[in-house]
Symmetry: C2
Subunit: 373 residues, 2 copies
C-alpha cells in the first residue's frame, strides 16, 4: 500500500465540491476537512486528548519552527512527531516555504535554496529542497509538502513567473530527494494571481504525478473575490482523483467557498489565534467576549453548540476568565473555535451527501451575517 489513498465518495450535484476519504496508516480523514495548526508540535492551548474529542482527524505542524527548535533530529529520535507530541492520528507538515519567505530582510533566495537567519537567535541556515526533504522525513508526518517560494500580494508578473518556475524546479528536486515510502509528498501550485502562471504551475506539477496538490500563495492579502477566481480557474487543472489542499485558509466563509470550488483540505492559525484574543465564532457571527454586554449573560458562547465550552460554561464566566487573565479562558475559546470549524466541515459533508449544499450555504450566511448575537 502507498502512504496515502484517496477515494471520492460523492460529488456535489450543486457545485464542484466533493466528499471523499483520505486513508493513511495513522487513520482515515473524511474530506472536506479543516486541519488545526500545531506550529511547534502543539496546537496552541490544546491537548491531543482535547483535539481528538472535538473531532480533529489531522493536524498540521511546521518544518521551519521545528527545525530551529527543538530540532528535527531530536523529534526523529523521539519516534517522529506522532510520538513526540503524542498525537496518534495523521499529521501534515508545511515545508517552511511560507515562513522563510516571510522573514523578509533575513533571507536570500538562490536557485540552490534559501539562506536565512533564525528569528530566535539570528543563526544562519540554508534550506534547499533536499534539506527540507531530510527534515520532513525526520519529522515523519503522513503528508509532507514540497519546498516552494510563496510570493506576497501584490507581486509583479515577471517575478511571480520566476518564483513559480523555481517552485516547479524545486518540486522536482523534492520528488527526487524524497524516499520515505510511508509518507506522501504533496506539491504546491504557485503563480500569484496570474491565471496563465497558475495553469502552467499546475500542469507541470501534475505531470510529475504527486499524490496530492496544494494551492499556495493565497489568503496572503488579496481580496476574497480574487481568491475565488483563482480557485475557479486553477482547480480544473488538478486531477480529480487526488486531494486538493488550500493552504492558510480558515475563516468560515472561505471554507465554504473553497469547498464549492472543489477544495478538500484547509488549515489556518486564525481560529486559535483569534480565540486567544477573546474572539469566538458563533452561528450568528463573531463575538468579542470581553464586551460589557456579556457581563451578566449566562447563556453559552453559541446556542446549540455541543463543544465542552458551550455545554459547561456561560459567556459571563468566560468573560470573567479573560478579564482576570485566566488560561482557562483562552483554552475554552480555542476549543470552541476549532470545534466550530470542524463542525462546519461535518455539516458541509452532510450537505453534499444530502444534496442541499446551496441551501446550507444560504442559511449559514443568513445567520452568520445577521448580527443577532
Amino acid at each position: 500500500m502507498s502512504a496515502l489513498s484517496f477515494s471520492i465518495i460523492k460529488k456535489s450535484k450543486e457545485s464542484n465540491g466533493r466528499v471523499g476519504i483520505i486513508r493513511t496508516k495513522h487513520g482515515d480523514i473524511e474530506t472536506p476537512v479543516f486541519m488545526p495548526v500545531g506550529t511547534r508540535a502543539a496546537v496552541k492551548a490544546m491537548s491531543p486528548e482535547e483535539l481528538e474529542k472535538i473531532g480533529a482527524k489531522i493536524i498540521l505542524s511546521n518544518t521551519y519552527h521545528l527545525y530551529l527548535r527543538p530540532g528535527h533530529e531530536l523529534i526523529r529520535d523521539a519516534g517522529g512527531l506522532h510520538g513526540f507530541m503524542s498525537w496518534p492520528k495523521p499529521i501534515l507538515t508545511d515545508s517552511g516555504g511560507f515562513q522563510v519567505f516571510s522573514l523578509g530582510e533575513l533571507r536570500k533566495i538562490m536557485e540552490e535554496g534559501v539562506e536565512f537567519r533564525s528569528h530566535i537567535d539570528g543563526s544562519k541556515h540554508l534550506f534547499t529542497p533536499e534539506k527540507v526533504m531530510d527534515i520532513e522525513q525526520a519529522l515523519g508526518p503522513d503528508i509532507a509538502m514540497t519546498f516552494d517560494e510563496c510570493v506576497p500580494y501584490p507581486e509583479k508578473y515577471t517575478y511571480a513567473k520566476e518564483a513559480m518556475e523555481r517552485t516547479t524546479r524545486w518540486a522536482e528536486r523534492c520528488l527526487n530527494a524524497h524516499t520515505r515510502e510511508d509518507q506522501a509528498l504533496f506539491a504546491i501550485v504557485q503563480g500569484s494571481v496570474y491565471s496563465d502562471l497558475r495553469a502552467n504551475s499546475a500542469k507541470d506539477l501534475v505531470s510529475m504525478d504527486f499524490p496530492g496538490y496544494a494551492l499556495g500563495g493565497l489568503s496572503v492579502g488579496e481580496p476574497k473575490e480574487i481568491m475565488n477566481e483563482i480557485l475557479d480557474f486553477t482547480v480544473p487543472f488538478l486531477p480529480e482523483n487526488k486531494p486538493r489542499y488550500l493552504m492558510g485558509v480558515g475563516s468560515p466563509d472561505y471554507l465554504i467557498e473553497g469547498v464549492f470550488r472543489g477544495i478538500d483540505m484547509f488549515d489556518c492559525v486564525l481560529p486559535t489565534r483569534v480565540a486567544r484574543n477573546g474572539l469566538v465564532f458563533t452561528k450568528n457571527g463573531k463575538l468579542v467576549i470581553r464586551n460589557a454586554q456579556y457581563k451578566n449573560d449566562f447563556g453559552p458562547l453559541d446556542q446549540d453548540c455541543e463543544c465542552y465550552a458551550c455545554k459547561n460554561f456561560s459567556r459571563a464566566y468566560i468573560r470573567h476568565l479573560f478579564n482576570a487573565g485566566e488560561i482557562l479562558g483562552l483554552r475554552l475559546a480555542t476549543i470552541h473555535n476549532l470545534f466550530f470549524l470542524i463542525n462546519i466541515m461535518n455539516n458541509i459533508r452532510a450537505a453534499i451527501l444530502g444534496d442541499y449544499l446551496l441551501e446550507f450555504r444560504k442559511e449559514f450566511y443568513s445567520n452568520y451575517y445577521s448580527n443577532k448575537i
Copy 2:
C-alpha cells in the same frame, strides 16, 4: 441534615493522624485531603473536567478576589460558584482575611473591620465580619471561613495578642451574621508563634461550637520546626470530632508532617504556581524541566506516575513546550503537580488504614531527598 458531617474512619496507631470522611451536599471528601486553589473561580491552567480526572474532591476559591471581580452578586445570580465555574463537587472559600492583610499600606484595621483599596483599580472598600458573611453566602461554597486577622512572621507578642483577640470577636460576629443552613462555617485559630495565644484562641473558638477549625497564620515565613511545634501544641485544643484545616500548606513534606500532627485538610497555590515556572515534583525530588539535561530525555516527568502528563509525554517534549512558550507545557506541569499531591494524600490514607504510616514517611523522604532525578 446539617451542611456538613465529619466521621473518623480510623485513627493512626503511629501518630495523631486520622482517616475520615466529610460529607456535604455536593459530595464526600475523604481526609486527609489536599485542596487545589482556584483563586478567581478557576484553578490556574486547569479545567473542572481535568480536576475531576486527577481526583480532586474539593477546591478552594477566594472571597477577596471574587468580591472585586466579577463581584459576588454576579456569582450568586449565576447559581453560586458551583454553577458559575461548572464545578459540581464541594468548594471552600477563604474569607479574604489573608489577602486584605497582605495589602500592607493599602489597608487600615479597625474594630469594625478592615478598610482597603483594591489592587486592581485602587477603589476603597470595607470588609467587616458581616460583610464577608454576605459575600460568602452569595458565593455559596459548602464551607465558608470566618473573617480573621492574619499577622505576618515574626510579630511581637503584644500585637499578636491584640490581633488574635480581635479575630475571636470577629468569629463571633461571623457566627451571628451567618444564616445559610446549607453552608458550614469554619473558624480560624490565630496567635502567631505564641503557645498561650494559640491555646486561648482555640479554647474561645471551640466554645462557640463551629463545625470545623482552621489554623491560620502559619506557613507565612516561619521555620518548619516552629510550624510543627505549633501544630503539636495547638491541635490537642481542637475537638477530635471536627475537621482540622491547616491553611496555605502544600509542599509534600509539610503535608506529611501536618497529617502526623492530626491535620485533615490542606490548601496551597504552590503546586500550580511552581508548575507554571516549570518546576515539577517527582518521587525523587524537584525537577526543573528547562534544564539542558532533559533535552533528550524521553522518559516521563515521574517514573510510574499515572497522570495524563506522565502517561503521554516525555520530559524532552515538555521541556520543548516550556522553551517555546506553549501553554500546553504549563498545563501538563500543573496537572502533574496537583496529581502528585493528591496521590500523596491517597497514599497517606492507605498508610494510616494499613498501619504503615511511619514506614511510608521514611521511604518517601528517602526517595524525595535522594536527588536521583
